[in-house]
């Protein structure tokens, strides 16, 4: 499913929470393909996303800045490092008891 096919809202009970609009979301996805724009995003993810009507908190903004700081482009960021072992990931996630594994032993 393409990101742009996803709804721009979620529900909690009867409440529907909407964010941004379709045009802005499409523009964000497009703009992130541009290395220069991507660098601007990497410097300030929260401020950048806010221009497209997308709210994120300071915690994930800081984390993304840390993760993206050395990437020159979205393409570089998206390369699969392919080195994280199944076990390491599962343990890192605090994979629970037997039944965690029962559902999805290796992710």
């Amino acid at each position: 499913m393409s990101p742009l096919e996803h709804p721009l809202s979620v529900k909690h009970g009867e409440e529907e929470i909407k964010i941004g609009d379709q045009a802005e979301a499409e523009q964000l996805s497009t703009d992130l393909q541009n290395p220069e724009t991507f660098r601007a995003f990497a410097q300030d993810p929260k401020g950048f996303a806010g221009k497209y009507g997308i709210q994120i908190d300071d915690t994930v903004s800081g984390r993304l800045h840390e993760a993206l700081d050395k990437a020159d482009s979205l393409g570089a960021f998206q390369q699969d490092e392919g080195e994280v072992s199944c076990t390491a990931v599962a343990v890192a996630m605090g994979a629970a008891a037997v039944s965690d594994t029962k559902a999805a032993l290796v992710i």
Binding site: K11, H12, L32, D80, G82, M93, G94, A95, A97, K102
Partner: protein, 361 residues
């Protein structure tokens, strides 16, 4: 938003064993069991949802006898990979192990997951596990062994590998015990492993579960009676589409997926002042979830919190999707300091099965 790739079926909570760490408190006395017709009808609808793998578990799935191969066959007809999770209790002799496994292999089983650790050892001899693993290899099944641990466990992944004579392609993994189910009562004083981590839950919505009580759960169902994690308390196969669609638009599930239950607890502590346990007392994500959903003080404020946090949860997911980093490995990687992207679960299995060069360790 987040699409399921695995569908787990808790066929029964009955088990010949009664392990101290069992989150379902399974035992020979527990009688919860799904109607085989409901299981078959459910499986027959899974192929339409992009689900890649059907995992049959319990309790002990091999107690379903002739029904288990029927379920596997139905899943294969839907184009799914299939996994059975077992203690391997049936493999007392090589012949018995081969006979029982042969039935499920004939039906098309792809993966066998064996649960083995100090707790299982009280009921099953390791020779039994060795028989089952050996038979599984003869059938070219991918074998995985999961070793649940406390800080003082005698059985480790390394010991299993050594005593099993495990091949490179097999998977042996360790999981810290979560104090849920019977473990909450029987292992409360056990020291927890120090290397456990609390982070995003990669199973919520990517691995919904049909519980042995007939409930559709949002995740793998370690705490199967938790109302907040129930998508549909009276599941019917014809409701699967609507159930999954509704679950995908849940703020709570998206938040659990992006950050995990302990991060939610921390946010509630910072913004509402509710007391939360320190991380060193929480065995893992499922135990954190248990606290999140069983503390009455949290239940009182949780709906308000979800509405308040909703826009940022949706925004975060949306942004990660734009970055191509909304898959489970990427989300987990983001918070563990590593980014690994665009690799789907089935590819991980496939990579594990690829022949390794002779020089591989």
């Amino acid at each position: 938003m987040i699409a399921p790739t695995t569908f787990a079926v808790h066929l029964t909570y009955t088990c010949p064993l009664a392990c101290a760490h069992c989150c379902f408190s399974s035992s020979p006395q527990v009688k919860d069991r799904l109607d085989p017709d409901l299981v078959l009808e459910t499986i027959e609808g899974l192929g339409e949802h992009g689900i890649e793998l059907a995992a049959f578990t319990g309790g002990e799935p091999f107690l379903l006898g002739r029904h288990l191969p029927r379920f596997i066959r139905a899943a294969k007809e839907q184009g799914l990979r299939t996994r059975v999770v077992t203690s391997g209790y049936f493999g007392r002799t090589p012949k018995a192990a081969a006979r029982r496994l042969g039935e499920v292999v004939d039906a098309g089983l792809d993966e066998l997951s064996i649960s083995w650790d100090d707790f299982h050892e009280e009921f099953v001899d390791f020779r039994t596990v060795r028989n089952v693993a050996a038979a599984a290899r003869q059938f070219d099944l991918l074998v995985a062994v999961n070793v649940v641990q406390t800080a003082e466990s005698r059985w480790t992944a390394a010991r299993v590998r050594k005593e099993l004579g495990v091949q490179v392609d097999d998977v042996v993994m360790e999981s810290p015990v979560n104090l849920t189910g019977r473990a909450e009562r029987e292992l409360a004083d056990e020291p927890l492993r120090e290397d456990r981590a609390l982070g995003p839950c990669p199973y919520v919505l990517t691995g919904p579960t049909l519980s042995a009580k007939g409930k559709l759960l949002a995740c793998c169902g370690v705490i199967p009676d938790t109302e907040r994690l129930v998508i549909d308390p009276e599941f019917r196969p014809d409701k699967l589409d609507a159930d999954l669609a509704e679950a995908r638009s849940s703020v709570l599930f998206s938040w659990l997926y992006l950050r995990g239950p302990y991060a939610i607890l921390q946010w509630l502590n910072e913004n509402y002042g509710v007391e939360i346990p320190p991380p060193e007392l929480v065995g893992g994500n499922c135990q954190a979830c248990k606290h999140l959903f069983e503390d009455p003080a949290i239940e009182e404020i949780l709906d308000d919190a979800l509405l308040a946090k909703g826009p940022e949860v949706v925004g975060e997911y949306r942004l990660l999707e734009s970055l191509g980093a909304a898959d489970p490995l990427s989300v987990v990687g983001l918070w563990s300091g590593r980014i690994t992207m665009q690799t789907r679960p089935s590819e991980r299995w496939d990579q594990a099965r690829e022949p390794k060069p002779a020089s591989s360790p």
